[in-house]
Symmetry: C2
Subunit: 347 residues, 2 copies
């Protein structure tokens, strides 16, 4: 590299209370170095923007440590190896890893594993598919549905955030497994899309109001809900709890409706939780990282569905590192349509 | 029977909102008939008073239909067969069944199974033990802990309502299975008793206030809570959620703190339920009737523990059918010390 490269980065400036705004972030630049023996230099192509990111900004005990003040914001992404002193990675390799919200990342040998850096094959899926159905959201949907939900053919599966990254995977996979699938999404356009394009049996527009959701669940789940894959929490969780079938399973994957609360806590718990008792039902949390040693199995299966057309992968691509603060917030406003991806550089 | 017998009964007069008082009940008398072919006549000896009874008074969908207005109040109990035209039951047999809050019950042949009438052996346990460790509370504790909790030696088990019928079974059984057991009970006397007499490792007095419970959980569960057997719901459930260990199991058995709410709904759900996600934990409801075909296995095991002294069974015996309204409310005031039993007649 003759001209030294400059790395543009987004760092956490101060912890948000409620919604993170531009003032919670700072934009920094620094020169890009050369990899030492065993290290690699990766150029970021696209980053995954996920609801979970909001949780990483809170100074609270969770399944992963919070992002530190002044640290580059954590983000998973796909990049290209542009310099390597590691025999496992060659210049030109496409990789997935925790690249961070920055244009380049220099990863020393001893951090490659912790970074989760792995080579990916663009013949199996596109860059954005590797951030969606074949990436963390896909893995979350796959293991949450299969391992915790344990779907049986003919069962009724409800999934909230149905047009989002995890939701679209869950719904399509449940269809493939022979279940009846009812989505919950925000707005008629998303609802129409998950039914027409993804083959959901029905979709309920939560923006039509609580009464409509209640009515929709009654209409579309006449025998009750066998599996609820919850990405949103709040009032919708309570409404589904009221419609559980005997021995139902609820997968607690997230609670996007609550993430921007000032105290970073749900404003209320599910009042109807005693429906678990009445219906001998189960509510269980899932964290995708626990399944890392089986990602390859899920990826192989999902890649097959992508190839034979039984599964679609929709991404909502926003561009430019500079837009990160506002782009992230699209998730909490429900403005993304499909998996939200931040394209940092063209391939 | 030369002189016709008179049956004193307690019937539901009107559904309570909040706490049931004497005006929700009515006391009736009627003559006792003779069993028809295949039927039996049972004299009530002792009845089980249980928190779940409050739920049966609400006109709401639950795991069992509500008690109807003017119906004899539902109750499980131990009685003596005093007339029989059924070859399965002889005069003098001691039986367990859904006898109801009344002195006598005439059970036609076609209702014997539905009533759950079974012979019991007083050499295996006393009448009150058959309503406690060997009865519904014992079965609830056994299957909740073993089937849903799946205790492993060395794990930390927390049980609320620790001095109650279900709680004492759960705690002692968990000790026998090699767990560390922390009770939560109301008042120092109960706490001392579960530690000294039942061998719990520790017990937290919830009447000492929320801060004391929080502190107690921290002190006594330094590695977090692996299993929480919840009989009480409310704030205590939330406090335990905040201390879960990885892969914890919460058994939702009841929520006595909430049963007397006017709308028969919990006033609030567990705000900390996202701890299930962070800790990949599970919360699951249990209804004892689902395990009916395995009661005999649990009874045999528990009878062995009673015999060898590893398990104790404490009952709080109140007397007289007339005291039913006030006696039942002792449960919700936490005034009972051990399994609450209403003795209707001396044996």
């Amino acid at each position: 590299m003759s001209t030294p490269l400059t790395n543009h980065q987004v760092r956490l400036a101060k912890r948000p209370e409620g919604t993170a705004t531009r003032e919670n972030w700072k934009f920094t630049t620094e020169p890009v170095g050369e990899p030492a023996e065993g290290g690699v230099l990766v150029k970021t192509l696209s980053l995954s923007l996920d609801p979970a990111m909001r949780g990483w900004l809170n100074d609270a005990k969770s399944y992963i440590p919070p992002v530190g003040i002044d640290e580059v914001m954590r983000a998973g992404g796909v990049g290209r190896v542009i310099a390597s002193k590691n025999p496992q990675f060659a210049v030109g390799d496409t990789v997935y890893g925790t690249l961070g919200v920055q244009e380049y990342i220099l990863i020393p040998e001893d951090q490659i594993k912790r970074n989760g850096l792995v080579k990916i094959d663009l013949r199996v899926g596109t860059i954005t598919q590797w951030l969606n159905v074949l990436g963390m959201p896909g893995m979350t949907g796959y293991f949450g549905l299969m391992d915790v939900g344990m779907p049986k053919p003919g069962e009724t599966v409800v999934v909230s955030g149905a047009a989002g990254a995890v939701g679209q995977t869950v719904g399509q996979l449940a269809r493939i497994k022979g279940c009846r699938v009812v989505g919950i999404a925000g707005g008629q356009a998303k609802c129409d899309w998950v039914v027409r394009e993804l083959g959901f049996d029905a979709c309920i527009d939560y923006k039509a109001g609580a009464a409509a959701v209640r009515e929709g669940l009654k209409t579309h789940c006449p025998k009750g809900v066998d599996i609820y894959f919850d990405n949103v929490g709040g009032e919708i969780l309570d409404m589904v709890l009221a419609r559980l079938a005997r021995k139902a399973r609820i997968i607690i994957c997230g609670a996007i409706s609550q993430y921007n609360n000032a105290n970073s806590m749900p404003s209320a718990g599910p009042k109807n939780y005693l429906s678990l008792l009445v219906n001998r039902a189960r509510m269980e949390g899932i964290v995708v990282f626990d399944y890392a040693d089986r990602y390859h199995i899920a990826i192989a299966e999902m890649a097959g569905y992508l190839k034979d057309g039984r599964m679609k992968s929709k991404e909502d691509i926003v561009k430019g590192l500079d837009t990160f603060p506002e782009s992230l917030n699209k998730l909490f406003a429900g403005e993304n349509f499909g998996k939200l991806v931040l394209q940092v550089a063209e391939d």
